[in-house]
Amino acid sequence: MAYVSTKSTPSRKPPLNESTPLGWVKVNMFSTLFSSVLSIFVLIAIFFTLKSLLTWGIFDGVWIADSRRECFSISIDGACWAGIIAWFDSIFYGLYPRDEIWRINLGGILLVIWMVPLWLPRVQGKVFIGFSAVALYPFLAGYLFSGGDKGIFVQVMISGAIVCIAALTINAAIGYFKNDNLANFIIQRLGKNDATEKQQRNILLGILAACVVAVFIWQLSWIEKSISWTRWGGLFLTFVIAGVGIASALPGGILLALGRRSKLKAVSILSIGFIEIFRSVPLITVLFMATTMFPLFMPEGIVLNKLVQVIIAVCLFNACYMAETVRAGLQAIPKGQFEGAHTIGLGYWGTMGLIIMPQALKHMIPNIVGTFIGLLKDTTLVSIIGLFDLLNILRTISRDKPWLGLHQETLVFGALIFFILCFAMSKYSRHLEEKLSTSHK
């Protein structure tokens, strides 16, 4: 007589809501009468919205036509996407002369080449990559985009930028494939492994100087046609304003936040005054001040570049918002961290740079990215003062004779572009948070 069953009991099926979509629907959407009614109501609303949206945009939409009139003759109620397609170049490049567009593309590609090593594993010197992208790349890109005569300072910076991007690319390749860095690689190739550190450094500096001089001489013959900023526009201009704003808002914000918390009375009062003044005025007011009031104070005949005025205004404005975000992050750091840093002999900048900021910035990521997204969307305000950013170009389509009155499709398209950009930023910030999160979970 055996009490132990020889057969194993058949495994039971998983609960309905775990196994089939239908089960999930039943448990989550129709569990009670109230939620059933609510679900049906919402589903109907979604169905009709989607149906009319898809009918308008896709099924009745017109993709190929030469004018809005032709769109109407094909489908009177559908969207006329042909206008957007005809204006593609303008939407992305604004009024930029069409045979010079390669300069914008090249500038974009260079930025990608510059930044990609930041995301590659095993590459060394990532802090330098980020720093150089902020300090050197703007000169190279700025000249590519605007052209004309180069001053001696810009020439030097451009040479530096070209050498830098070449070195960074080689360094990234060496790092990725050989898990080494460029400096060591050169020393080994030259067989100077045994030389003293000072000799090695001198060799590297010598090579660097030779490269910069060679590039400097080469770039003397490199002259691009001058293109006025008034021809910048479209998504390109939006990127320029937002890009400079984003690159400068964080450093500016950190300095202002540190200034505000400073024990030096003068520094803290100045910082507080600056932050509060800019934060209590709407951005559009700052922009109007910068572009219409400022020239009144200048001597007659002197006209400052409106784009530069706008970019400065955007940078200052966002640095002030960023300062408060950073200050909030700083206040979350326990006092023990400061004291700990002091006990190991770190000074003010050492404490801030090595101990406090890395911790604080990690906590601030959601807010920082939130400010960046706000900044990107705020750039559309420059259309009010006559710059042809993405929004303004999209609005201009409806004034072009063949596409007269085409304004809904263009705004939908603009919304789509902004959604893609903002959503990508938001997703990336989530990814960063997870990557950097340590023990706090």
Partner: protein, 346 residues
Amino acid sequence: MKLTTLLTSVAAVAAMAFAGVASASAESTLEIVKKRGHVRCQVGPASPGYYFLDSKGEWQGLDVANCHAVAAAIFGDISKLEIQSVSTQARFTSLANGDSDLLSRTATWTMSRDTQLGIDFLTPTFYDGQGFTVPKDSGIKTGMDLKGAKVCVTSGTTTESNLNDFSRTNNLNISAVTFEDFNVRDETYLQGGCDAVTGDKSSMAGNISAFPVPGDHLILPDTLSKEPLAPAVRHGDNQWADIVRWAQFAMINAEELGITSANVDDLKANSKNPSIRRMLGVEGDLHKGLGLEKDWAYNIIKQVGNYGENYDRYMGNGPQGIGIPREGSSNALWTKGGLMYSPPMR
């Protein structure tokens, strides 16, 4: 001691600033423009027919042609030009503070603007008038039928106040529905949000042509206001005003004399007509008074065309035109019963 040092330095800075201003204003606009190498011409946010961007990113339009003409007159090259697009609110400030050299956009020449804003209007390039658009089946035949009606209007221009004046004078009790953007105004009208649209007749004609069914709408015969649309320059530099004014007159005069961009070379070489020869700089020295080169008018006609050519191209039935008939309107030449009249060029 310290106070005196401070006071002296403040005085010195003030004196330097004053000297800077004085020396700068002594320079004429023409000199500044020549030194800079291009003309800064102000237009507005794109407006069909007058100034708009085409899909290649180039400015076009009747008012842009004026900008081109000034650049051609001074530099002999229409590309020596920077078009500035300035919002309606900032347009006159931007001209008065020296940001723009001239303003060539659909600005109505009114007395208060001409006398109070530090700017001078020149000769009108387009005579417009405000009117109403209504649906054909509404039964409205004149503006008087609009009693108690809701009328869509764009804000921030003379249009809105003209509508109020019209409503008050005729005791019509019209309620205005204002919009920033004419596209939204028209959309609201098309969806029945208002009984009529008011605006400049010319631009409304262009807008109606873009409606899904243009034939369903008509422009009422009433004209609410005179709208002479003229370019403007800063007050006080008469030489500059002369240049802009005569660049326009040259285009009108050329049409009257039958000079076009196509035949200008031929006429310059072969014409016996003294008026044509004087204008194109073959004989006489008309250019001296303007401080320009001998072939200033030739360059305008060659590169920009005469007034009629530009009208057809942008306002008339050309491929880019918004289809406003010119015959019989105020914009016809004076010889054909219109108001386009240039003083003789001699």
